[in-house]
């Protein structure tokens, strides 16, 4: 890493990335390290509030997300990978700008300021803003031959509060194309994966997930690459189509191309084993 500038970011993993999607988290950290992006985990973070807290009690949801903001050291942007976490962290920050009373109450409770100017960004934005050159320099394993459907899911840029900010449309394609992969068009890229209904009403979600995966099969893709760890899980566990495709989290493919060697542990955790595909393309030994 000779003399290369390291860039510091605070990093909010969120519950999915920290547990069920540990492979996404490990690969994200790996990829970031190779690119000289220093993701410093937010000390003692808590759940962003999630749909459940935001639904059951908006005040509690606000307070949960706000605590994370109060833990972020000033002077470096806060990065999230989970689209829902990003959505809640940002919308709560916006809410508190207009609600000084709640903000003061929370700040006094914790004895910490809630930084209203803190920049909250998605990992994709970090890549395209700070690292396009570094991507090119660090390709160790070209993804040539890998045909993927970029699956953004419903949250990355749909909620109106996020849509007014950075528009992430096309960024997964941009990044993975730099690394040699081939984006496939014509499949469902933004249909909802079922979210929590996958846990409560699986019979409702399966046909929708099948439609998404079938559309990728029809478009002759090898796999789907998701921007969200929950989407990744839902597309894997709820699909019962005849042909199942491997579903990667974006960070796994990224780290693979950047030369990560510890992929065995990540891919063994998949419910649809991606290793035969990667072997066929000579991307892994």
């Amino acid at each position: 890493m000779s003399g290369r500038l390291e860039l510091d970011f605070s990093y909010f993993p969120g519950c999915s990335m920290a547990t069920t999607a540990a492979e996404s988290n490990m690969s994200l950290m790996k990829a970031a390290r190779i690119l000289g992006l220093n993701l410093i985990e937010l000390e003692d973070w808590n759940c962003c509030g999630s749909s459940s807290a935001q639904t059951m009690c908006a005040d509690l949801g606000t307070a949960m997300a706000a605590r994370n903001l109060s833990l972020a050291p000033p002077g470096r942007p806060l990065v999230a990978m989970c689209p829902r976490c990003l959505h809640y962290l940002r919308s709560v920050q916006a809410r508190l700008k207009n609600d000084p009373e709640t903000r003061r109450d929370l700040e006094e409770r914790w004895g910490r300021p809630i930084p209203l100017g803190l920049e909250i960004v998605h990992f994709l934005e970090v890549l395209v803003r700070y690292a396009p050159g570094r991507l090119q320099q660090n390709v160790k394993r070209s993804l040539k031959g890998l045909k993927f459907v970029p699956y953004y899911g419903c949250t990355v840029f749909r909620p109106p509060s996020l849509a007014r900010e950075k528009y992430y449309q096309g960024e997964m394609e941009n990044v993975l194309a730099i690394l040699g992969a081939q984006p496939i068009v014509g499949a469902y890229t933004h249909r909802c994966c079922g979210s929590f209904l996958s846990a409560t009403d699986p019979e409702l979600v399966t046909p929708l997930v099948n439609e998404i995966v079938d559309s990728a099969v029809l478009a002759e893709a090898h796999c789907l690459v998701t921007a969200c760890a929950m989407c990744q899980l839902n597309l894997e566990i709820r699909c019962n189509s005849m042909v199942k495709l491997p579903v990667f989290h974006f960070s796994e493919v990224l780290a693979l191309a950047l030369g990560a060697q510890d992929y065995e542990g990540w891919f063994a955790r998949h419910l649809v084993d991606p290793r035969p595909l990667l072997k066929e393309l000579a991307l892994v030994a």
């Binding site: 999630s50 459940s52 949250t155 909802c192 929590f196 019979e203 566990i237």
Partner: protein, 205 residues
Amino acid sequence: MNPPLPQEKTDGPMPEKTDAPMTIKPGERDRSLAAEVRSRSGTNFNCCFQCRSCGNGCPFIQAMDHPPNVLLRMVQYGMDREVLESETIWVCAGCHTCSSQCPMAIDLAGVMNTLRIMAMERGAAVAKPNILKFHEEVLGSLKRYGRAHKLGIMWRYKLKTRRWFSDMDTGLKMLAKRKLELRPSRVKAIKEIEDLFQHYWRKGK
């Protein structure tokens, strides 16, 4: 120029929980519901012209008792009870498909969120109790650990809803792949989280 009547539904009979037939008498409309939803959601839906783009795009419409566009019209008609006791508001996953397809830029997902919160505040009967139980289990986990512990959530959820055998196969597969962590990851300063539950949970309600 008459708007479609709210009882116009795409399928099935009216839910039995309504005592009276869902008819609207001109002059008896209560507009306070619409005003409250408008101000709390920050979404002005007066300009909805019932084009049904939202309903056509909603991935979960089959599981709803009223399509999203009809529900919006019911809000405008002041049908508090039917709206807050609908299945629609609980089935809605907040995917924002409707909001992004609406030609009038109405944030219907935001309206749905406001309606769920209002339903909880007013103690409305919840038409999809299993979804409510799930949210409650997530909150329980947040209260205990500050983070969502999925194995614990699914275990308790299954215990409460007694849906043991639906889905067992998937649960086992996930466990085998260690996707459901046995031990929860937790917040160290858990007192701060407990304190938030104490002060903010349905505060003043």
